[in-house]
């Protein structure tokens, strides 16, 4: 032992940029994911602001239709593949999963680093198509036959996504094995923190679903280069088959994005309420349950694509079943807060915001799952607003909650509480203004992805664009807060929130292999002495 026991992982071991780039430490890899995905959020956000700017008034404002098509495609692709999918598992999962189960690292540290570089490789290939090629104009869904015919850089987009998918698979595989084999003594399955359950369920989806999109995108590449014809009606192929394969992944992918977010909420709410979680097993099982049903509902994206009526009926019914596990979680979170001693610090504000916005996102999801209603809603702004309530009002808002919640542990410093709260209010107001307006425009029939629109939608679009600036300011404040507090924030104690899960037993920031001595667990993760 060459060093004193309490040196944190930033100072222990090697220093310099190379020690980060080739590190095998899950905490450093997690921080690299954190920086990368936050940059992705900014890039995707800039595309979003430009899209909203163009749609501020009817008619052409700043961009011609072709440029506009590229902007909304890149907004979608960057937000989904560069930001939301890797963000929570890659950054917070990597940093906290081993800490929360009392392990020294993930099961396969080299594979972990490889995942990160596969993500970067995928991004680089995408960037090549965006900067040196003509960009992409297919939307993030790459639907055939348009994606076969367009002159845009579809190949570099989908090959990039293939590599990012590989990264996602390997991360999931790594986490599953980690949870199975590296839990510390006494940490039984039903003593696992719910964030671990959520990441575990997510990982199963990553392993099972991602290969399907990976090979489908390779087939699309072969379609464009060799004309193999699987998805090209001209050659006897079936474009709806592409939609089936695409959504067989991309519906579960919605849960790859939202399950880890729910895991964060399940940590923040009991700690910030200083109360035992209500319905621990129900929440744990509902994560697995959501993962399972998510494989059975992909057809709800194809109600208008000429599926058989029977298939439409079954997919519609099963889609409504997804509401059950989600609702179980919602009720349990609210019940956990009941009579708790609630602290309204920034992480909790974001978590409470999540309950509202995800609630709206979930309920409008049921509306979209209703077959008859979806005939009207399909491909309108109602859909756009719905999935932004789930993705941004669900996944992203929970990520922000998690960032503030675990900031003291990751950086060893406290963030600025005032700026944190201010960011929340800008974000939540801006968010609801932006997307409630889109719900109304969509209900009135405004189609999504159009460059121009009828003047009857003008008012709602103007409101939506103004709202998007609120979101931007909120996120800007988060980034300023994180960057500033990383260097100037006051030193954080080991356990600022009086949390009971294992990561709070480690130092802030943790030592090189997380704990001085492998911990032994003797009780559940949220044992606050108050039974719910």
């Amino acid at each position: 032992m060459g060093h004193a026991a309490n040196i944190n992982f930033y100072e222990a071991g090697n220093k310099g940029i190379m020690s980060w780039l080739i590190t095998l430490d899950h905490k450093r890899i997690g921080l690299m994911y954190f920086i990368t995905t936050m940059m992705s959020l900014c890039i995707g956000g800039i595309f979003a602001l430009l899209v909203r700017l163009e749609l501020m008034f009817p008619g052409q404002q700043f961009f011609d239709p072709n440029t506009y098509n590229r902007l909304f495609t890149l907004h979608g692709a960057v937000m989904v593949f560069w930001f939301i999918i890797p963000a929570i598992p890659g950054a917070l999962g990597n940093f906290f999963l081993p800490l929360m189960i009392g392990a020294k690292d993930v099961a396969f540290p080299r594979l972990n680093l490889l995942s990160y570089y596969l993500l970067l490789l995928g991004m680089a290939i995408n960037l090549y198509g965006i900067l040196h090629g003509p960009g992409a104009d297919t939307g993030w869904t790459f639907y055939t036959p348009y994606s076969i015919k367009t002159g845009a850089a579809v190949v570099s987009m989908v090959v990039g996504v293939f590599f990012m998918g590989f990264a996602s698979i390997l991360t999931g595989l790594n986490f599953i094995v980690t949870v199975h084999t590296l839990r510390c003594p006494g940490l039984t399955w039903f003593r696992l923190p719910l964030f671990v359950w959520a990441i575990y369920s997510t990982s199963i989806l990553q392993v099972l679903a991602t290969p399907v999109i990976g090979i489908t995108l390779i087939l699309l590449t072969l379609e464009r280069t060799l004309g193999i014809g699987f998805f090209d009606p001209k050659l006897g192929g079936d474009p709806v088959l592409f939609q089936h394969f695409f959504w067989f992944y991309s519906h579960p992918a919605v849960y790859i994005m939202i399950l880890p977010a729910m895991g964060i909420i399940s940590e923040v709410i009991p700690t910030m309420s200083q109360k035992t979680i209500f319905g621990y097993r129900a929440i744990a099982y509902s994560s697995l349950g959501l993962g399972l049903v998510s494989f059975l509902v992909w057809g709800h994206h194809m109600f208008t694509s000429g599926q058989s009526e029977l298939a439409n009926f079954v997919f519609s019914l099963l889609t409504m079943a997804t509401a059950v596990p989600s609702a179980i979680k919602m009720f349990n979170w609210v019940a956990t807060m009941y009579k708790g001693s609630i602290s309204l610090a920034t992480p909790m504000l974001y978590a409470i915001g999540f309950l509202f916005t995800f609630g709206i996102g979930g309920i409008t999801g049921i509306m979209l799952g209703v077959l008859s209603a979806d005939m009207h809603f399909h491909d309108t702004y109602f859909v756009v607003a719905h999935f932004h309530y789930v993705m941004m009002g669900g996944a992203a808002i929970a990520l922000f909650s998690g960032i503030f919640y675990w900031f003291p542990k990751m950086l060893g410093r406290m963030y600025n509480e005032f700026l944190g709260k201010l960011s929340f209010w800008f974000f939540i107001v801006g968010f609801n203004v932006t997307f409630l307006a889109q719900f109304v425009a969509g209900l009135n029939g405004m189609p999504r992805r159009y460059h121009d629109y009828d003047s009857v939608y003008a008012g709602w679009n103007l409101i939506s664009t103004v709202g998007s600036w609120g979101i931007a300011l909120g996120i800007l404040m988060i980034i300023i807060n994180v960057v500033y507090s990383s260097f100037k924030g006051p030193k954080a104690p080991a356990n600022p929130w009086k949390g009971k899960t294992l990561e709070w037993a480690a130092e802030s920031p943790p030592v090189l292999e997380n704990f001085e001595k492998t911990p032994t667990v003797t009780s559940g993760p949220y044992d606050y002495g108050l039974k719910a």
Binding site: K104, P109, V207, P211, I215, L222, L235, E513
Partner: protein
């Protein structure tokens, strides 16, 4: 946590060789699941078009060489056996025999690829190629190139897996020669073996489906 001076026979975040082996094995099984999902996409697509165009599939599959396919099936089955034997030998510390079995496995894999080469070159000679490259004229059914696109994509992807498997077998052969494995520690051999079995198993499904079923 121990310093670098202490030489462990397992990674530092595991407790023992057995612990590390258990983790590696679970990881390998999960990887095999991803392979099954990958080929599942091919099988689903193949099944759909077989259902849509039975006449076309019937006509096209007569142009596949069933004898070469059958030969390759036998070759791969033998290679699975030799792979399993190699693991059995290393578990008994018989490095010499284990290495021989790996070489036999490699030989089978090479035979498979050579047969594949003859199959492909014959088709290419006749102008039977995937997609746009399809040049053969003496076919009745429309869009018959679609069948051969499936044939080349499916067997091509499988062939790629065989090549990757050969590289992996070479790698453990080299490590075995270096003395990395013994009856206590043989994880990598077992994992490559698992991979090799799934590559064989996929062929066992692929061969009758594409070559035989009408």
């Amino acid at each position: 946590m121990s310093g670098a001076h202490e030489h462990l026979d397992h990674a530092h975040h595991f407790e023992s060789v057995e612990h590390e082996f258990e983790a590696g094995k679970l990881g390998m099984w999960l990887f095999l699941v991803t392979e099954v999902m990958l080929f599942g996409v091919f099988f689903a697509g193949y099944g759909l078009f077989h259902y849509l165009y039975p006449e076309m599939f019937k006509e096209a599959h007569h142009h596949l060489d069933k004898r070469m396919g059958a030969l390759n099936t036998v070759v791969l089955l033998i290679s699975s056996l030799t792979m399993a034997l190699s693991i059995a030998y290393i578990q008994r510390d018989n490095v010499k025999r284990a290495k021989q079995m790996l070489l036999l496995t490699l030989l089978c894999a090479a035979i498979f690829m050579v047969v594949k080469y003859f199959e492909y070159s014959h088709k290419i000679h006749l102008g039977i190629l995937p997609g746009d490259l399809f040049k053969a004229a003496d076919f009745q059914a429309p869009n018959i190139a679609l069948f051969f696109s499936f044939y080349f994509v499916m067997t091509g992807t499988h062939g790629l897996h065989v090549l990757i498997g050969m590289a992996a077998i070479l790698w453990i052969y080299w490590r075995m020669g270096r003395g990395d494995f013994n009856s206590r520690k043989f994880g990598a051999v077992e994992f490559v073996g698992l991979y090799w079995h799934i590559v064989d198993l996929i062929w066992i499904f692929l061969f009758p489906l594409v070559y035989l079923v009408v």
